[in-house]
Amino acid sequence: MSGWEIFTWISVIILGLGSIIVFILFLKDVPELLKKSEKESL
């Protein structure tokens, strides 16, 4: 396996897995964000 190919698969993992992890962390924050937006709109 060439260096280019290893770099490509690392990028795929960062892109795929990384974005999913960030999205899960975002989902964890959503209830608090929504609560804040709801409180401000009252």
């Binding site: 490509t8 990028s11 892109l15």
Partner: protein
Amino acid sequence: MYSLAAIDYIIIVIYLLMMVGVGIWFSKRHSNFDDYFLAGRSLTTPILITTLISTYYGIDVLFGDSQLAFTDGVVAWFGYARPTYAFFLIAAFLLANRLKKEDFRSLPDILDKYYGKKTRYIGALASFIYSLPALSLYGFGMLGDVIMGWPPFVGMLILGGIALVYTLTGGFWAVALTDSIQFVMMCVVLAIAVPFAFNIIGGFDTMIDVLPAAYFESMGDLSIWLVIIYASTGLTILVEPTFYQRIFAAKSYKNVRNALIIGIFIWGSYDWVVTILAMAAKVGAIQGIIPADVAPDASLLTIMVVALPAGVLGLFMAGVLSTEMSTLDSYCLVAGGNVAYDFYKPALKPDAGDDELIQKTRWGVGLSWILGFVMAISFDQMLGLWVFMASILISSVLVPILGGLFFPKFHKPLAGLLSTGLGLASTIILNMYIMTQGTFVVEEETYVLHIGQWNIFQEYLMYITVPISFMGYMLGIIFGKEKRS
């Protein structure tokens, strides 16, 4: 038009309905302008990552990167994409901290604070022009044609209209939350596409065997001057209005810094995967898997249509739509804020309340969309138009913004006024001149003016207009008086 399976269309329709749903959900949830325009300044690191990445990367990056990679190889990443990461680092460690220290709401707010109202209005005009969604709407026209077989203006109206609806109704909350969904869509589908693309061309080793060795040279045939020009396009990051809006909307500086550092890894991976997929498309064109005469900017979509199975292709197309929607909505909102908060309130109605500002921002969003639409259907050479719009922003606000943020002694109204005014005027005059008197060279994809033996590219104009802006700034510092507090 590519032929998609029924399941692909169903996925695309579900995705579009979901975006409208988020906008309607947030339509009545705004208590004040800060809430509508900056999501209550409460964005945490994960949502900042998602909204920064999805906004800054539109299909211009997707197709622009892939076009260069298809024709030249890995230089698309090393020469074109990589330098921008340095600017993200500068933004993370030097700029964001300064910006978070003040209670700014928009980029022209900074100019107002340091140089006064006149500079604010010029900066707001530059930001408004830069944020017009002409290129995004043009992209929707192209995608509507490719996916559905619609004439370009129908794609602009329907797909661009959906982004307009949720931006108008939901404000920055809707933009940030749809950005998050769009972020995961655009990243995951690209990652999934790689094994399918390798499978159809016969693996990475085949790519190395089939493509010329120059495709794997990190700087390819690029001259040092072209590298400098590519690198300097990253300067936009330092005055990017949507980027500033996200810094102002963040909960704290730490959130912005962390989001940018993590984001650089995702941006880098995204660019690299696009580069490799486009190179796989080149192999596909050589092997006869896709037409040999495929347009370089359509090569990525073409290889995906061949490589991806039904369902996955629908997800990919929804991901491509996401890439563009997340860009269009953010720029429309910034342009709307320029109209309401940077023009209307200070110039016409200083006592305007939050409800009125929200309403005027919505008008501004609509206005920017309409102007963008008119430009998208009127101009033939969108790339030339984009270079013009980007250089307007850099040439008018880069010098006074950085000067104002980092050199407190230079806060003289005349410096701001001369710098923004001369930068804006010289950019408009020189770009108009080259776009009317020059010729559009298809191979270079830019306007070129021939003067004697010299060929002046449109992109070079920035190297005249930014120094003009800088000279105006220095003159203002020498001859101007201090700003009265």
